[in-house]
Point group: C2
Chain length 391, copies 2
Amino acid sequence: MYNQKAYALGSVRSYIREVFEYGRQQAKLVGEENVYDYSLGNPSIPAPEQVNESLHRILNTVSSIKVHGYTSGPGDDGIREAVAANLTERFGKEIKPANLFFTCGAAPALMSALTALACPGSEVIAIAPYFPEYKPFTESAGSKFVSVMAREPDFQLDLDALAAAVNEHTQAVIINSPNNPSGAVFSAETLAALAALLTERSEKYGHPIYIIADEPYRELVYDGVEVPFIPNIYKDTIVCYSWSKSLSLPGERIGYVLVADDVTDSKAVFAAVAGAARSMGHVCAPSLIQRAVAECCAIMPDVEAYDVNRNLLYNGLTAAGYECVRPQGAFYLFVKAPGGDALAFAEKAKLKNLLIVPSDGFGMPGWFRLSYCVSKEMIERSLPVFAELVG
Amino acid sequence: MYNQKAYALGSVRSYIREVFEYGRQQAKLVGEENVYDYSLGNPSIPAPEQVNESLHRILNTVSSIKVHGYTSGPGDDGIREAVAANLTERFGKEIKPANLFFTCGAAPALMSALTALACPGSEVIAIAPYFPEYKPFTESAGSKFVSVMAREPDFQLDLDALAAAVNEHTQAVIINSPNNPSGAVFSAETLAALAALLTERSEKYGHPIYIIADEPYRELVYDGVEVPFIPNIYKDTIVCYSWSKSLSLPGERIGYVLVADDVTDSKAVFAAVAGAARSMGHVCAPSLIQRAVAECCAIMPDVEAYDVNRNLLYNGLTAAGYECVRPQGAFYLFVKAPGGDALAFAEKAKLKNLLIVPSDGFGMPGWFRLSYCVSKEMIERSLPVFAELVG
């Protein structure tokens, strides 16, 4: 006798994790250089040097009891101050330390926000293609998951489809920009249109419809594209952030939930986020790394290596005849599966140790995702394999 | 519109955290030296030097991408191997790497175990006095929380009371030894009697009744007391561990769930633990600190400072006329509240900036808990205040 839902979630591992684990086993068998693993969004750029310098300095200068001791549940006061000041300066909106709730990364940040907003009968909308965990996260939090397709070919929001999907049960719309897996950055215009729709519907239904802005890729953009700060466009926005990608610290589990003062029921929603976190075993975010990100939060990532990969892969695949979305941000390339069956194509690719993620889990069949946070050499070695597969 | 249950959990902060935050504010007002804060189990012994040495060495010798990158969900393979080997050696029972699921500390370990075992109608028993979070944790996981009093005056298990409480709905009994807040270590005899009871009842009801062994204080014992390794006594034991206390790393959020091979439905229970963790936003335990604890897991804490505190406080309070349980482990002293009303006594003490935790939240009114993981000087300064309060 055990929890069947938890068992199902734990035994059917996320496809991405599954492929990643397979790649690791396969590398042992056939050699690392013969596996082309595009599965996982594990940054291939090392953390900026300042991060490790900070870590060394903190360990050398702050007492062990302070460095490794519990912080307050929402995070150390000084650390929240530093990050709030940085956000205020960057986005021109006053963010207070008390608006920030530090978490063990973006996943528990999302779970806390989703749980905080879950009410009887509530629905949460995500834009397909979406990060596959949104579905189990939303359902674990107790809401109904609703998927609305993005608009092709630019993968911006489809406002008509959204207008049809938003109803009196809608509690939140998850916006993930830069988007995983499409690489699209939602424009200020499309977000303004979304804000207008949600404002109108919030009034009509008599309760706020929140945006949950999942922003781990905020700083990973190319060609000078701007990522609008959604709380400046729509006040009822709850931001979930992590330094996993911007500082290349995905294993360290450090992020936050941001509920600014002008969010409807701000203090109550913040308390609900804290309560949701507590109900999932949150005590505090890892303390040493809290200090390090506070010192490093102003550092912008050097995305040049990703940009080189982006162009190499995009150009290589389009030249080989693949249809791809040109990414504006993040480190994913979204590619139409030749033949239309992404799962079948992924199986074919797997036989050549080319590991890709079919888009079925992203809520939009017929495509596959490549994470190009890999070595340039791996991309170069893999291009002939891609060419063979499409031939 | 937001989640009322999450709001309630988040706005009514745990009493202990509340008192701790009050103490921090009060210290700013009246000076650190005039606040006697016995609220929080925040280790006062620094982490062993080897921990920071490990951290420096790992940062200096392992590539940033490896150190700070995602590990597998249950933990890095090499790290699980090191910890499994250490457990096997220490306890004479074969623990495999695949039996370990690393978590962001004991709280999410417990939440994952409790959620993994939660079934429709299930009940979980805790022994009062118990760690207050057991109740919201059990209820958040979806089971009914049942409290069974420990036996006075030695605070061992009351087998008759347990026999009366265990029924066909009982899924687990939480055993926390050394105990927070009583400091009792459950003896091999009492645990063997519990094992016999649970074996008989598991057979009778046709399903296993698990023990969840919550063991963050395992290594913190005095007078040479042995803490039995419960999986050696009762096979259906799921261990939840953290290095928060043994290595003085509470802020770093690092622990594990252990499901050994001979646990009934071991693989399924392990999968349910993984699924439960995933549903709460677990991705992996913090990666840098994973490596450090793997290197340091054989280090035993030097509990001498706690032992000095234990004797100073126990002797001081009993001399002043207080009735205390003599602790065998952990770093808590459990004291009978003069007058019988612990909340009223705690309020009286608070006026003198003496911060104690009334036992009501521990499921056993009329006592209070002192965390003696504090400076010896604070204990010395506080003894006259205790004497005044009882006078």
